[in-house]
Amino acid sequence: MKPETSEAPQTVLVVDDEPTARVALAARLKRLGYRVLQAGDGKAGLDLLRRERPDLTILDWMMPEMDGPSFCETVRRDPTLLSSQILMMTGNDQPEQIAEGLARGADDFLSKAASKYEITARVQAGIRAAGLIRRLEDVTAEIRQKQEALEQELQSAARYVESLLPASGPVVPGVRMARLYRPSLALGGDLFNIVPWSDDFLGLYLLDASGHGVSPALRSSAFATFLRRDSLMRHVGSNDPGAILTEANKQFPLTERGHYFTIVFASLDLRCRILSYASAGHGGALLHRRSGEVCWLAQPNLPLGFDPSTTYVTATLPIEPGDRVYLLSDGLYEFPAANGELWGQERLETTIRALAQQPLETVIAETIAEAVRAQGHEQFPDDVALMGVEIERELG
Protein backbone atom coordinates (compact mmCIF):
# COMPACT_ATOMS: atom_id res chain seq x y z
CA MET A 1 0.00 0.00 0.00
CA LYS A 2 1.10 3.53 -0.78
CA PRO A 3 1.60 5.65 2.33
CA GLU A 4 -0.76 8.58 2.77
CA THR A 5 1.30 11.32 1.20
CA SER A 6 -0.62 14.36 2.40
CA GLU A 7 -3.61 15.29 4.48
CA ALA A 8 -5.48 17.01 1.65
CA PRO A 9 -8.99 18.08 2.73
CA GLN A 10 -11.72 15.69 1.70
CA THR A 11 -14.07 16.81 -1.00
CA VAL A 12 -17.86 16.95 -0.73
CA LEU A 13 -20.08 17.60 -3.71
CA VAL A 14 -23.43 19.27 -3.02
CA VAL A 15 -26.09 18.84 -5.71
CA ASP A 16 -29.21 20.96 -5.13
CA ASP A 17 -31.28 23.15 -7.42
CA GLU A 18 -32.21 25.57 -4.60
CA PRO A 19 -29.33 28.06 -4.38
CA THR A 20 -30.10 29.22 -0.83
CA ALA A 21 -30.10 25.76 0.69
CA ARG A 22 -27.09 24.70 -1.36
CA VAL A 23 -24.97 27.70 -0.41
CA ALA A 24 -25.90 27.37 3.27
CA LEU A 25 -24.93 23.69 3.37
CA ALA A 26 -21.74 24.40 1.43
CA ALA A 27 -20.76 27.09 3.92
CA ARG A 28 -21.37 24.76 6.84
CA LEU A 29 -19.26 22.01 5.24
CA LYS A 30 -16.45 24.46 4.54
CA ARG A 31 -16.46 25.43 8.20
CA LEU A 32 -16.04 21.75 9.03
CA GLY A 33 -12.87 21.75 6.92
CA TYR A 34 -14.08 20.11 3.72
CA ARG A 35 -13.40 21.21 0.19
CA VAL A 36 -16.85 21.80 -1.34
CA LEU A 37 -18.04 21.56 -4.93
CA GLN A 38 -21.50 22.70 -5.96
CA ALA A 39 -23.85 21.76 -8.77
CA GLY A 40 -27.28 23.22 -9.49
CA ASP A 41 -28.73 20.19 -11.25
CA GLY A 42 -28.24 16.47 -11.66
CA LYS A 43 -26.43 16.64 -14.99
CA ALA A 44 -23.87 19.18 -13.76
CA GLY A 45 -23.52 17.04 -10.62
CA LEU A 46 -22.67 13.93 -12.66
CA ASP A 47 -20.09 15.89 -14.65
CA LEU A 48 -18.40 17.04 -11.43
CA LEU A 49 -18.60 13.57 -9.96
CA ARG A 50 -16.81 12.14 -13.00
CA ARG A 51 -14.21 14.86 -13.10
CA GLU A 52 -13.43 15.36 -9.42
CA ARG A 53 -14.30 12.00 -7.79
CA PRO A 54 -15.39 13.69 -4.50
CA ASP A 55 -15.32 11.59 -1.33
CA LEU A 56 -19.00 12.22 -0.68
CA THR A 57 -21.96 13.53 -2.64
CA ILE A 58 -24.89 15.16 -0.87
CA LEU A 59 -27.87 15.08 -3.14
CA ASP A 60 -31.28 16.73 -3.03
CA TRP A 61 -34.17 14.41 -3.82
CA MET A 62 -36.41 16.96 -5.53
CA MET A 63 -34.78 18.45 -8.60
CA PRO A 64 -36.14 19.27 -12.06
CA GLU A 65 -35.17 17.00 -14.98
CA MET A 66 -32.94 14.53 -13.12
CA ASP A 67 -34.12 13.96 -9.56
CA GLY A 68 -32.05 12.45 -6.75
CA PRO A 69 -33.04 8.79 -7.20
CA SER A 70 -32.44 8.95 -10.99
CA PHE A 71 -29.02 10.48 -10.28
CA CYS A 72 -28.28 7.53 -7.94
CA GLU A 73 -29.39 4.98 -10.53
CA THR A 74 -27.14 6.54 -13.16
CA VAL A 75 -24.17 6.41 -10.76
CA ARG A 76 -24.75 2.76 -9.82
CA ARG A 77 -24.90 1.73 -13.48
CA ASP A 78 -21.56 3.38 -14.26
CA PRO A 79 -18.62 1.09 -13.34
CA THR A 80 -16.29 4.05 -12.85
CA LEU A 81 -18.67 5.80 -10.45
CA LEU A 82 -20.59 3.03 -8.74
CA SER A 83 -18.54 3.04 -5.54
CA SER A 84 -19.33 6.76 -4.89
CA GLN A 85 -20.85 7.50 -1.48
CA ILE A 86 -24.18 9.29 -1.77
CA LEU A 87 -26.08 10.95 1.04
CA MET A 88 -29.63 11.83 -0.07
CA MET A 89 -31.40 14.82 1.41
CA THR A 90 -35.14 15.19 1.58
CA GLY A 91 -37.77 17.22 3.34
CA ASN A 92 -40.10 14.25 3.27
CA ASP A 93 -38.44 11.55 5.36
CA GLN A 94 -41.25 9.00 5.45
CA PRO A 95 -40.00 5.40 5.88
CA GLU A 96 -41.39 4.42 2.43
CA GLN A 97 -39.50 7.23 0.79
CA ILE A 98 -36.28 6.40 2.61
CA ALA A 99 -36.68 2.78 1.52
CA GLU A 100 -37.23 3.81 -2.08
CA GLY A 101 -34.18 6.11 -2.04
CA LEU A 102 -31.95 3.37 -0.61
CA ALA A 103 -33.34 0.83 -3.07
CA ARG A 104 -32.52 3.14 -5.98
CA GLY A 105 -28.92 3.61 -4.89
CA ALA A 106 -28.47 6.11 -2.05
CA ASP A 107 -26.13 5.08 0.79
CA ASP A 108 -27.74 7.13 3.55
CA PHE A 109 -30.39 9.74 4.27
CA LEU A 110 -30.36 13.18 5.72
CA SER A 111 -33.51 15.04 6.64
CA LYS A 112 -33.60 18.70 5.66
CA ALA A 113 -34.74 19.28 9.23
CA ALA A 114 -31.69 17.57 10.71
CA SER A 115 -29.70 19.32 13.43
CA LYS A 116 -26.23 20.52 12.59
CA TYR A 117 -24.86 17.73 14.84
CA GLU A 118 -26.68 15.12 12.84
CA ILE A 119 -25.50 16.64 9.57
CA THR A 120 -21.90 16.62 10.82
CA ALA A 121 -22.17 13.03 12.05
CA ARG A 122 -23.74 11.70 8.82
CA VAL A 123 -21.22 13.49 6.64
CA GLN A 124 -18.39 12.05 8.73
CA ALA A 125 -19.89 8.57 8.50
CA GLY A 126 -20.16 8.93 4.72
CA ILE A 127 -16.57 10.15 4.44
CA ARG A 128 -15.40 7.25 6.61
CA ALA A 129 -17.15 4.73 4.36
CA ALA A 130 -15.73 6.46 1.27
CA GLY A 131 -12.23 6.18 2.75
CA LEU A 132 -12.62 2.46 3.36
CA ILE A 133 -13.98 1.87 -0.12
CA ARG A 134 -11.18 3.88 -1.67
CA ARG A 135 -8.57 1.89 0.25
CA LEU A 136 -10.19 -1.32 -0.83
CA GLU A 137 -10.13 -0.14 -4.45
CA ASP A 138 -6.48 0.88 -4.20
CA VAL A 139 -5.44 -2.42 -2.68
CA THR A 140 -7.47 -4.38 -5.22
CA ALA A 141 -5.88 -2.43 -8.06
CA GLU A 142 -2.44 -3.01 -6.61
CA ILE A 143 -3.04 -6.75 -6.19
CA ARG A 144 -4.37 -6.96 -9.73
CA GLN A 145 -1.30 -5.16 -11.02
CA LYS A 146 1.08 -7.42 -9.14
CA GLN A 147 -0.87 -10.46 -10.27
CA GLU A 148 -0.58 -9.35 -13.89
CA ALA A 149 3.15 -8.75 -13.53
CA LEU A 150 3.56 -12.19 -11.96
CA GLU A 151 1.53 -13.83 -14.71
CA GLN A 152 3.64 -12.14 -17.36
CA GLU A 153 6.76 -13.41 -15.63
CA LEU A 154 5.29 -16.92 -15.61
CA GLN A 155 4.34 -16.68 -19.29
CA SER A 156 7.83 -15.59 -20.18
CA ALA A 157 9.33 -18.43 -18.10
CA ALA A 158 6.91 -20.83 -19.80
CA ARG A 159 8.07 -19.63 -23.23
CA TYR A 160 11.64 -20.30 -22.12
CA VAL A 161 10.78 -23.83 -20.99
CA GLU A 162 8.99 -24.43 -24.33
CA SER A 163 12.07 -23.20 -26.14
CA LEU A 164 14.07 -26.01 -24.53
CA LEU A 165 11.81 -28.60 -26.17
CA PRO A 166 12.67 -30.07 -29.57
CA ALA A 167 10.53 -29.25 -32.62
CA SER A 168 8.54 -32.03 -34.26
CA GLY A 169 10.01 -33.26 -37.55
CA PRO A 170 13.05 -35.13 -38.87
CA VAL A 171 15.85 -35.55 -36.30
CA VAL A 172 18.40 -37.18 -38.56
CA PRO A 173 17.72 -38.64 -42.01
CA GLY A 174 15.32 -41.54 -41.48
CA VAL A 175 14.27 -40.71 -37.92
CA ARG A 176 11.23 -38.56 -37.21
CA MET A 177 9.92 -37.18 -33.98
CA ALA A 178 6.47 -35.85 -33.09
CA ARG A 179 5.50 -34.51 -29.71
CA LEU A 180 2.88 -32.75 -27.63
CA TYR A 181 3.28 -30.86 -24.39
CA ARG A 182 0.47 -29.84 -22.05
CA PRO A 183 1.72 -28.36 -18.74
CA SER A 184 -0.93 -28.42 -16.00
CA LEU A 185 -0.07 -24.85 -14.98
CA ALA A 186 1.56 -22.13 -17.05
CA LEU A 187 4.92 -23.63 -16.12
CA GLY A 188 5.61 -27.33 -16.41
CA GLY A 189 8.04 -29.58 -14.56
CA ASP A 190 8.25 -32.17 -17.34
CA LEU A 191 10.92 -31.82 -19.99
CA PHE A 192 12.05 -34.01 -22.85
CA ASN A 193 14.50 -33.91 -25.69
CA ILE A 194 16.03 -35.87 -28.51
CA VAL A 195 19.53 -35.00 -29.62
CA PRO A 196 21.56 -36.51 -32.47
CA TRP A 197 24.98 -37.29 -31.10
CA SER A 198 25.96 -38.43 -34.58
CA ASP A 199 24.04 -39.48 -37.71
CA ASP A 200 23.75 -42.98 -36.28
CA PHE A 201 23.34 -42.31 -32.61
CA LEU A 202 20.59 -40.42 -30.80
CA GLY A 203 20.12 -39.59 -27.14
CA LEU A 204 16.57 -39.02 -25.85
CA TYR A 205 14.98 -38.53 -22.51
CA LEU A 206 11.86 -37.46 -20.66
CA LEU A 207 12.10 -36.22 -17.11
CA ASP A 208 9.48 -35.30 -14.55
CA ALA A 209 10.21 -33.05 -11.57
CA SER A 210 7.86 -33.76 -8.68
CA GLY A 211 5.61 -30.90 -7.60
CA HIS A 212 3.94 -28.19 -9.69
CA GLY A 213 4.83 -24.65 -10.64
CA VAL A 214 7.92 -22.51 -10.60
CA SER A 215 10.30 -24.58 -8.50
CA PRO A 216 10.00 -27.87 -10.46
CA ALA A 217 10.36 -25.90 -13.72
CA LEU A 218 13.60 -24.37 -12.44
CA ARG A 219 14.91 -27.73 -11.27
CA SER A 220 13.96 -29.32 -14.60
CA SER A 221 15.78 -26.75 -16.66
CA ALA A 222 18.89 -27.16 -14.48
CA PHE A 223 18.64 -30.89 -15.07
CA ALA A 224 18.21 -30.36 -18.83
CA THR A 225 21.46 -28.40 -18.79
CA PHE A 226 23.18 -31.30 -17.05
CA LEU A 227 21.84 -33.62 -19.77
CA ARG A 228 23.40 -31.63 -22.62
CA ARG A 229 25.92 -33.63 -24.54
CA ASP A 230 28.98 -31.54 -23.57
CA SER A 231 28.01 -31.68 -19.91
CA LEU A 232 27.46 -35.44 -20.05
CA MET A 233 30.84 -35.95 -21.65
CA ARG A 234 32.43 -33.90 -18.88
CA HIS A 235 30.52 -35.39 -15.91
CA VAL A 236 29.90 -38.95 -17.09
CA GLY A 237 32.26 -39.48 -19.99
CA SER A 238 29.92 -42.01 -21.55
CA ASN A 239 26.81 -42.46 -23.69
CA ASP A 240 25.54 -45.20 -21.46
CA PRO A 241 22.04 -44.43 -20.08
CA GLY A 242 22.68 -46.33 -16.83
CA ALA A 243 25.97 -44.49 -16.22
CA ILE A 244 24.26 -41.16 -16.98
CA LEU A 245 21.47 -41.80 -14.46
CA THR A 246 23.89 -43.12 -11.84
CA GLU A 247 25.79 -39.83 -12.04
CA ALA A 248 22.60 -37.73 -12.21
CA ASN A 249 21.43 -39.48 -9.04
CA LYS A 250 24.47 -38.06 -7.23
CA GLN A 251 24.12 -34.60 -8.77
CA PHE A 252 20.42 -34.18 -7.95
CA PRO A 253 19.70 -35.27 -4.38
CA LEU A 254 16.26 -35.10 -2.81
CA THR A 255 15.43 -31.48 -1.93
CA GLU A 256 14.80 -30.60 1.68
CA ARG A 257 11.08 -30.67 0.90
CA GLY A 258 11.29 -34.15 -0.56
CA HIS A 259 11.21 -33.19 -4.26
CA TYR A 260 12.96 -35.31 -6.85
CA PHE A 261 13.08 -36.36 -10.50
CA THR A 262 11.92 -39.42 -12.30
CA ILE A 263 13.44 -39.93 -15.71
CA VAL A 264 13.80 -42.34 -18.57
CA PHE A 265 16.95 -41.94 -20.64
CA ALA A 266 17.45 -43.86 -23.88
CA SER A 267 19.84 -44.01 -26.76
CA LEU A 268 19.16 -45.24 -30.27
CA ASP A 269 22.10 -46.83 -32.03
CA LEU A 270 20.87 -46.94 -35.62
CA ARG A 271 23.90 -48.75 -36.98
CA CYS A 272 23.75 -51.62 -34.49
CA ARG A 273 19.92 -51.46 -34.29
CA ILE A 274 19.88 -51.24 -30.54
CA LEU A 275 17.72 -49.26 -28.16
CA SER A 276 19.46 -48.82 -24.80
CA TYR A 277 17.64 -47.33 -21.86
CA ALA A 278 17.64 -46.83 -18.13
CA SER A 279 14.89 -45.43 -15.98
CA ALA A 280 14.69 -43.98 -12.51
CA GLY A 281 11.19 -44.36 -11.09
CA HIS A 282 9.68 -43.47 -14.45
CA GLY A 283 7.04 -45.78 -15.91
CA GLY A 284 6.18 -43.86 -19.07
CA ALA A 285 8.20 -45.32 -21.94
CA LEU A 286 7.36 -47.95 -24.49
CA LEU A 287 8.56 -49.48 -27.72
CA HIS A 288 5.83 -50.17 -30.26
CA ARG A 289 7.23 -52.51 -32.87
CA ARG A 290 6.11 -52.54 -36.47
CA SER A 291 5.13 -56.15 -35.80
CA GLY A 292 2.54 -54.83 -33.33
CA GLU A 293 4.37 -55.98 -30.21
CA VAL A 294 4.52 -53.47 -27.34
CA CYS A 295 7.37 -53.49 -24.79
CA TRP A 296 7.18 -51.14 -21.85
CA LEU A 297 10.65 -49.86 -21.01
CA ALA A 298 10.01 -50.37 -17.33
CA GLN A 299 12.58 -51.03 -14.68
CA PRO A 300 11.51 -50.99 -11.04
CA ASN A 301 14.10 -48.46 -9.91
CA LEU A 302 14.32 -45.72 -7.32
CA PRO A 303 13.62 -42.19 -8.55
CA LEU A 304 16.71 -39.96 -8.60
CA GLY A 305 17.94 -38.72 -5.25
CA PHE A 306 16.28 -41.39 -3.11
CA ASP A 307 19.50 -43.23 -2.38
CA PRO A 308 22.89 -41.83 -3.42
CA SER A 309 24.40 -45.33 -3.65
CA THR A 310 22.00 -46.57 -6.35
CA THR A 311 23.51 -47.93 -9.54
CA TYR A 312 21.23 -47.64 -12.55
CA VAL A 313 21.67 -50.37 -15.12
CA THR A 314 21.21 -50.13 -18.86
CA ALA A 315 18.82 -52.51 -20.57
CA THR A 316 18.80 -53.06 -24.33
CA LEU A 317 16.29 -54.08 -26.97
CA PRO A 318 16.81 -54.73 -30.69
CA ILE A 319 15.04 -52.28 -33.01
CA GLU A 320 13.93 -52.48 -36.63
CA PRO A 321 12.77 -49.99 -39.26
CA GLY A 322 9.16 -49.05 -38.60
CA ASP A 323 9.50 -49.37 -34.83
CA ARG A 324 8.34 -46.45 -32.71
CA VAL A 325 9.54 -45.37 -29.28
CA TYR A 326 7.27 -43.30 -27.06
CA LEU A 327 8.43 -41.41 -23.99
CA LEU A 328 5.64 -39.91 -21.93
CA SER A 329 4.67 -38.35 -18.62
CA ASP A 330 2.91 -40.57 -16.11
CA GLY A 331 0.33 -37.76 -16.12
CA LEU A 332 -0.86 -39.18 -19.45
CA TYR A 333 -2.23 -42.33 -17.80
CA GLU A 334 -2.32 -41.65 -14.04
CA PHE A 335 -5.42 -39.51 -14.05
CA PRO A 336 -8.92 -40.35 -12.90
CA ALA A 337 -11.23 -41.18 -15.81
CA ALA A 338 -14.78 -39.81 -15.80
CA ASN A 339 -15.94 -42.92 -13.87
CA GLY A 340 -13.43 -42.25 -11.05
CA GLU A 341 -11.06 -45.12 -11.91
CA LEU A 342 -7.51 -44.43 -12.98
CA TRP A 343 -7.21 -44.49 -16.76
CA GLY A 344 -3.99 -46.47 -16.51
CA GLN A 345 -1.20 -47.85 -18.67
CA GLU A 346 -3.30 -50.60 -20.22
CA ARG A 347 -5.83 -48.22 -21.75
CA LEU A 348 -3.02 -46.02 -23.00
CA GLU A 349 -1.38 -49.05 -24.60
CA THR A 350 -4.67 -50.11 -26.23
CA THR A 351 -5.06 -46.60 -27.63
CA ILE A 352 -1.57 -46.56 -29.11
CA ARG A 353 -1.97 -50.09 -30.52
CA ALA A 354 -5.21 -49.12 -32.26
CA LEU A 355 -3.40 -46.26 -34.00
CA ALA A 356 -0.55 -48.42 -35.32
CA GLN A 357 -1.37 -47.75 -38.99
CA GLN A 358 -1.59 -43.97 -38.53
CA PRO A 359 1.24 -41.50 -39.13
CA LEU A 360 3.26 -40.69 -36.01
CA GLU A 361 1.82 -37.15 -35.69
CA THR A 362 -1.70 -38.59 -35.72
CA VAL A 363 -0.82 -41.14 -33.03
CA ILE A 364 0.48 -38.36 -30.77
CA ALA A 365 -2.52 -36.07 -31.31
CA GLU A 366 -5.11 -38.86 -31.11
CA THR A 367 -3.61 -40.42 -27.97
CA ILE A 368 -3.86 -37.11 -26.13
CA ALA A 369 -7.37 -36.60 -27.54
CA GLU A 370 -8.43 -40.06 -26.31
CA ALA A 371 -7.07 -39.30 -22.82
CA VAL A 372 -8.97 -36.00 -22.84
CA ARG A 373 -12.16 -37.86 -23.82
CA ALA A 374 -11.58 -40.40 -21.04
CA GLN A 375 -11.22 -37.79 -18.32
CA GLY A 376 -14.11 -35.77 -19.73
CA HIS A 377 -12.33 -32.39 -19.85
CA GLU A 378 -9.28 -30.67 -21.33
CA GLN A 379 -7.32 -29.89 -18.18
CA PHE A 380 -5.00 -32.68 -17.01
CA PRO A 381 -4.26 -32.63 -13.27
CA ASP A 382 -0.55 -33.15 -13.96
CA ASP A 383 1.89 -32.17 -16.71
CA VAL A 384 1.43 -34.20 -19.85
CA ALA A 385 4.18 -34.68 -22.39
CA LEU A 386 4.32 -37.25 -25.15
CA MET A 387 7.21 -37.69 -27.56
CA GLY A 388 7.14 -40.32 -30.30
CA VAL A 389 10.19 -41.32 -32.34
CA GLU A 390 9.94 -43.39 -35.49
CA ILE A 391 12.73 -45.20 -37.25
CA GLU A 392 11.88 -44.90 -40.91
CA ARG A 393 14.92 -45.83 -42.86
CA GLU A 394 16.40 -49.13 -43.80
CA LEU A 395 19.06 -49.48 -41.15
CA GLY A 396 22.66 -50.23 -42.06
Binding site: D208, G258, Y260, A298, L302
Partner: protein, 116 residues
Protein backbone atom coordinates in the same frame (compact mmCIF):
# COMPACT_ATOMS: atom_id res chain seq x y z
CA UNK B 1 -8.97 -37.08 1.69
CA UNK B 2 -7.39 -35.67 4.85
CA UNK B 3 -4.96 -37.69 6.91
CA UNK B 4 -5.08 -38.77 10.52
CA UNK B 5 -2.01 -39.91 12.42
CA UNK B 6 -1.88 -41.80 15.70
CA UNK B 7 1.33 -42.93 17.38
CA UNK B 8 1.95 -45.59 19.98
CA UNK B 9 5.13 -46.95 21.51
CA UNK B 10 6.36 -50.41 20.51
CA UNK B 11 9.53 -52.19 21.77
CA UNK B 12 12.51 -50.09 20.59
CA UNK B 13 10.42 -47.83 18.42
CA UNK B 14 7.22 -46.05 17.55
CA UNK B 15 4.29 -47.25 15.48
CA UNK B 16 2.64 -44.49 13.47
CA UNK B 17 -0.84 -45.42 12.28
CA UNK B 18 -1.80 -43.47 9.16
CA UNK B 19 -5.35 -43.06 7.91
CA UNK B 20 -6.20 -41.28 4.67
CA UNK B 21 -4.07 -40.29 1.67
CA UNK B 22 -0.35 -39.64 1.74
CA UNK B 23 -0.37 -36.82 -0.80
CA UNK B 24 0.83 -33.30 -1.50
CA UNK B 25 -2.15 -31.85 0.39
CA UNK B 26 -1.30 -33.78 3.57
CA UNK B 27 2.49 -33.46 3.45
CA UNK B 28 2.88 -30.95 6.27
CA UNK B 29 0.81 -33.03 8.65
CA UNK B 30 2.78 -36.16 7.84
CA UNK B 31 6.14 -34.40 8.12
CA UNK B 32 5.23 -32.81 11.45
CA UNK B 33 4.10 -36.13 12.96
CA UNK B 34 7.21 -37.96 11.77
CA UNK B 35 9.70 -35.21 12.68
CA UNK B 36 8.39 -34.97 16.23
CA UNK B 37 8.87 -38.72 16.63
CA UNK B 38 12.40 -38.55 15.22
CA UNK B 39 13.37 -35.62 17.44
CA UNK B 40 12.32 -37.58 20.50
CA UNK B 41 15.17 -39.93 19.64
CA UNK B 42 13.17 -42.77 18.10
CA UNK B 43 15.40 -45.27 16.31
CA UNK B 44 12.76 -47.33 14.57
CA UNK B 45 9.68 -45.83 12.98
CA UNK B 46 7.05 -48.25 11.73
CA UNK B 47 4.49 -46.72 9.37
CA UNK B 48 1.25 -48.63 9.47
CA UNK B 49 -0.15 -48.16 5.96
CA UNK B 50 -3.18 -50.45 6.29
CA UNK B 51 -5.60 -47.49 6.10
CA UNK B 52 -3.76 -45.48 3.44
CA UNK B 53 -5.65 -45.59 0.14
CA UNK B 54 -3.38 -43.52 -2.02
CA UNK B 55 0.22 -42.29 -2.21
CA UNK B 56 1.08 -39.71 -4.88
CA UNK B 57 4.49 -38.65 -6.21
CA UNK B 58 4.82 -36.08 -3.46
CA UNK B 59 4.04 -38.78 -0.88
CA UNK B 60 6.76 -41.01 -2.35
CA UNK B 61 9.27 -38.18 -2.01
CA UNK B 62 8.28 -37.70 1.62
CA UNK B 63 8.77 -41.39 2.36
CA UNK B 64 12.26 -41.19 0.85
CA UNK B 65 13.00 -38.03 2.81
CA UNK B 66 11.84 -39.59 6.09
CA UNK B 67 13.94 -42.66 5.43
CA UNK B 68 17.03 -40.49 4.72
CA UNK B 69 16.47 -38.38 7.84
CA UNK B 70 16.13 -41.43 10.09
CA UNK B 71 19.27 -42.91 8.57
CA UNK B 72 21.14 -39.68 9.40
CA UNK B 73 20.16 -40.08 13.05
CA UNK B 74 21.10 -43.79 13.09
CA UNK B 75 17.50 -44.86 12.88
CA UNK B 76 15.41 -46.80 10.40
CA UNK B 77 11.92 -46.78 8.91
CA UNK B 78 9.75 -49.80 8.17
CA UNK B 79 6.35 -50.15 6.62
CA UNK B 80 3.46 -52.32 7.59
CA UNK B 81 0.68 -53.74 5.40
CA UNK B 82 0.41 -51.34 2.45
CA UNK B 83 -2.78 -51.79 0.38
CA UNK B 84 -2.36 -53.33 -3.04
CA UNK B 85 -2.54 -50.10 -5.04
CA UNK B 86 -0.07 -48.34 -2.75
CA UNK B 87 2.16 -51.42 -2.88
CA UNK B 88 2.12 -51.27 -6.67
CA UNK B 89 3.10 -47.59 -6.77
CA UNK B 90 5.89 -48.24 -4.31
CA UNK B 91 7.26 -51.26 -6.10
CA UNK B 92 7.41 -49.32 -9.40
CA UNK B 93 9.66 -46.87 -7.59
CA UNK B 94 11.44 -49.70 -5.73
CA UNK B 95 10.75 -48.02 -2.37
CA UNK B 96 11.06 -51.31 -0.50
CA UNK B 97 14.78 -51.00 -1.16
CA UNK B 98 14.78 -48.02 1.21
CA UNK B 99 11.88 -48.95 3.46
CA UNK B 100 11.36 -52.65 4.15
CA UNK B 101 7.74 -53.78 3.96
CA UNK B 102 6.23 -56.23 6.48
CA UNK B 103 2.94 -58.03 6.71
CA UNK B 104 2.71 -58.17 10.51
CA UNK B 105 3.93 -56.25 13.50
CA UNK B 106 6.13 -59.04 14.92
CA UNK B 107 8.14 -59.29 11.72
CA UNK B 108 8.47 -55.51 11.53
CA UNK B 109 9.70 -55.37 15.12
CA UNK B 110 12.14 -58.21 14.56
CA UNK B 111 13.30 -56.60 11.30
CA UNK B 112 13.04 -59.89 9.45
CA UNK B 113 12.66 -59.21 5.76
CA UNK B 114 10.01 -61.89 5.29
CA UNK B 115 7.81 -60.08 2.83
CA UNK B 116 8.66 -57.67 0.07
Amino acid sequence: MAMQTKERPVPNGVMLELTGDLTYANREQFKTAVESIRQKGCRHLILNMADVRFVDSSGLGLLALVSQNFKLSQGKVSMLKPQSYVREIMSLANIQKLIPVYENEQDALAGQPKAA
